[in-house]
Amino acid sequence: MKEWIFTTDHKRVGISYLVGSMAAFAVAGTMALLIRMEQFNPGPGITDNPHTYNTWLYFHGAAMILAFLIPGLTGFAANYFLPLMIGAPDVAFPRVNSFSVMLFWLAIVLALLNFVIPDPADIMWTGYPPYSVMTEGNTAWYVFVVHMMGFSSILGAINFLTTVIYMRAPGMGWNQLNVFVWGTVTAFVMQLIFIPALAAAVTLLLFDKYLGTHFFDPAAGGDVLLYQNIFWFYSHPAVYVILLPALGILFEIVATMSKNPVFNYKACIYGGFWGTTLLAGEVWIHHLYVSGMPDWLRIGMMVSTILISIPVGLMTISLWGTLYRGAITFNTGMMYASGALFFLLLGGLTGIPNAMTVVDLHIGETSFVHSHFHYVMAMLATFALIGGVYYWFPKMTGKYANEGIGKLGFWLNFIGVNVTMFPLMLIGPLGMPRRYYDYPMVPELAPMHHLATYGSLIVLLGMAITLINWITSAIAGEKAPLNPWGSKSLEWTHTDSPPGPGNFKGGTPVITEDWTPYNYGK
């Protein structure tokens, strides 16, 4: 136990992130089930107290984003695989890395305590004032969780950027990096630039609520929109902090399982990943389309938002092109990746109406938006992460995950999330707002809510099967060879399963000029 808590080994830190983020996922997922059950019919359902329901909504959103998706991708996946992919024995600052994961665990514990304190936070993950200042809920709880997660991420960002810049294997050039490495690098660049904005916003919230300042209080000359502007200046890039590493994992799986090089690598990296990073900080007003911002700003950011489709389009073309004339093997990892491609398409395309200011005047803040970001962010990233765990399972454990149970879990999850989220997309424009405890004004939408609730129960079954499969396979799975998928990437070709201390037995691999992690067919 001690060697896991105080470990400085990047692989153990990674596993620690995985366990923590899966715990957060389980609790936040349970909240989602409760939300779905409450919305099953109009009127009070499993609770007759809307406040209780609001605390579920708060926890679901905040924990899924801050404690599951971001740490799952930039904590677990980056920690475990990035040093292996670039041929490094560990990260640049292993002790700082150890401190990062401790902060993360502290934040998780603090977040979970929200269920036992007498006045739990009920301010949604966005925490807009004046509500978050006026509520009797414990806003400080939210602020301190954000602070700790933020600290943890900033330390991680410095650590990983240093690692990639200084610790690549001898001879490894920038155009020989795995796409996942680029996904992590761009995500951490954004974390480094934008987290301080979020930290400032929530700290001012803390001052307003507990120290009597008036930053967001119009009665004393403050401005309620100031918070929303600073908050989304971070929180839109945060979407890409989740999307880019998730796409990175998809590229790893798709390239390896198709035995093809990544199609148009440079356009994908410099146009797609860096283009998205460049635009990330210029689009936040699209979260404030109906917030009374000046008209010119809403139109200006409509154009910048809509231009995001260019880098995302380039990454999409690269993903699709990598399949072209491939030699595709459908294992569980590849099935999750294919599912995620579908979510990318549906979630990306439904982003276009959301990006248009005038269209948002009707569908903004409805369950259409709710469904859109679940497809493009939540479901895509979760499927990428689960697919990644299946893909790297033989590397982490030395054993195969059970394929039959894995595929059964995939179909349950894939059908389940679609049955949940697609009906919610349809009822948004028909008059279903987000974050509703009850919907007495549109009782005719109940059948769609029934469907969505049944879908969420299917997901529960799928996720339970997936988790059980991982645990039983890790203990008693069939032994796997070192490179079962025939990958060309360093984490498969040059390390044990699982890799020992220092990662590379025969010393750091030396990279030749014609090597790439995707040089299939050579």
């Binding site: 199609f263 409509m302 389009g313 699709w320 491939g326 005047l361 009707h362 707002p433 299939y520």
Partner: protein, 258 residues
């Protein structure tokens, strides 16, 4: 800033929209202004314009979606490995091909984007410019309800208006942020303390509709809905007279309109 904005807007409209406006007017034969349908009262009908734009968007999305989705499905099924050692034979791009595969898709996406943005912008201009002779009502939001105040000082919690005249709401909140969504009229805008925002709509038809709050505002968030009623002018006048009458009586005088 406003002048620059107007200049930019007319420039973009001229370049991008002129042919479109002609095309759509020619095709439908109905009266439009900048692609937005006009209602029987001769004023633009934003919600009809919204529905039209939504339809076009859905066609655009379905076409792209079927194209990409079909391609993915085809490749996933067609290029399956026959043996575990088989390698893919994906194309190695030359420098020119690589640049082409970046620039051409970028150009195509950008054209589609700007095309949509221009359409959105012209409808947006209609949404943000209330006609001159609108019925102007003040709206105040509180946790958890809406109250309206007419120019003559009458206050109600159900909005009634004549069906042929556009309605503008000047909105503010007394406590937290709310958002006013008139579902039938395809419009919403946040209602905030310390700021005044507005929405307008052209009622066109008679009938009852609902509005509801779409910005999280506490335990009563989902109960913050109410009726808005579009009625014939005569009925509206009679209703307004019945509201004004008690105020005219000597009994406890309500605060006069300021």
């Amino acid at each position: 800033m406003r002048r620059v904005y107007m200049a930019l807007q007319s420039l973009a409209a001229t370049v991008l929209l002129a042919p479109l406006a002609f095309a759509s007017e020619g095709a439908e034969g109905g009266k439009t202004a900048g692609g937005v349908p006009l209602a029987s009262n001769g004023l633009p009908n934003p919600s009809a314009g919204w529905d039209h734009l939504w339809e076009e968007l859905m066609i655009d999305l379905v076409v792209i979606g079927v194209l990409f989705g079909g391609a993915a499905l085809y490749m996933l099924l067609k290029y399956q490995a026959k043996s575990p050692d088989e390698q893919g034979t994906g194309p190695r791009l030359s420098k020119v091909q690589a640049i082409g595969w970046a620039l051409i898709p970028a150009f195509v996406f950008m054209s589609d984007d700007l095309f949509l943005a221009a359409k959105g912008w012209s409808l947006w201009s209609v949404y943000r410019n209330p006609p001159a002779n609108s019925l102007e009502v003040k709206l105040t939001a509180v946790q958890w309800g809406w109250s309206y105040k007419y120019p003559n000082g009458v206050e109600t919690d159900v909005l009634r208006f004549p069906s042929h005249k556009p309605v503008v709401l000047r909105m503010t909140s007394e406590d937290v942020i709310h958002s006013y969504w008139a579902v039938k009229y395809r419009v919403k805008e946040d209602v905030m303390p310390g700021r005044i925002t507005y929405v307008w709509f052209n009622p066109v038809n008679e009938g009852k509709a609902y509005v509801t709050c779409t910005e999280f505002c506490g335990t009563g968030h989902s109960q913050m809905y109410g009726d808005i009623i579009s009625m014939p002018q005569g009925e509206y006048d009679a209703w307004m007279a019945s509201q004004v009458a008690p105020a005219a009586a000597p009994a406890p005088a309500p605060a006069p309109a300021s």
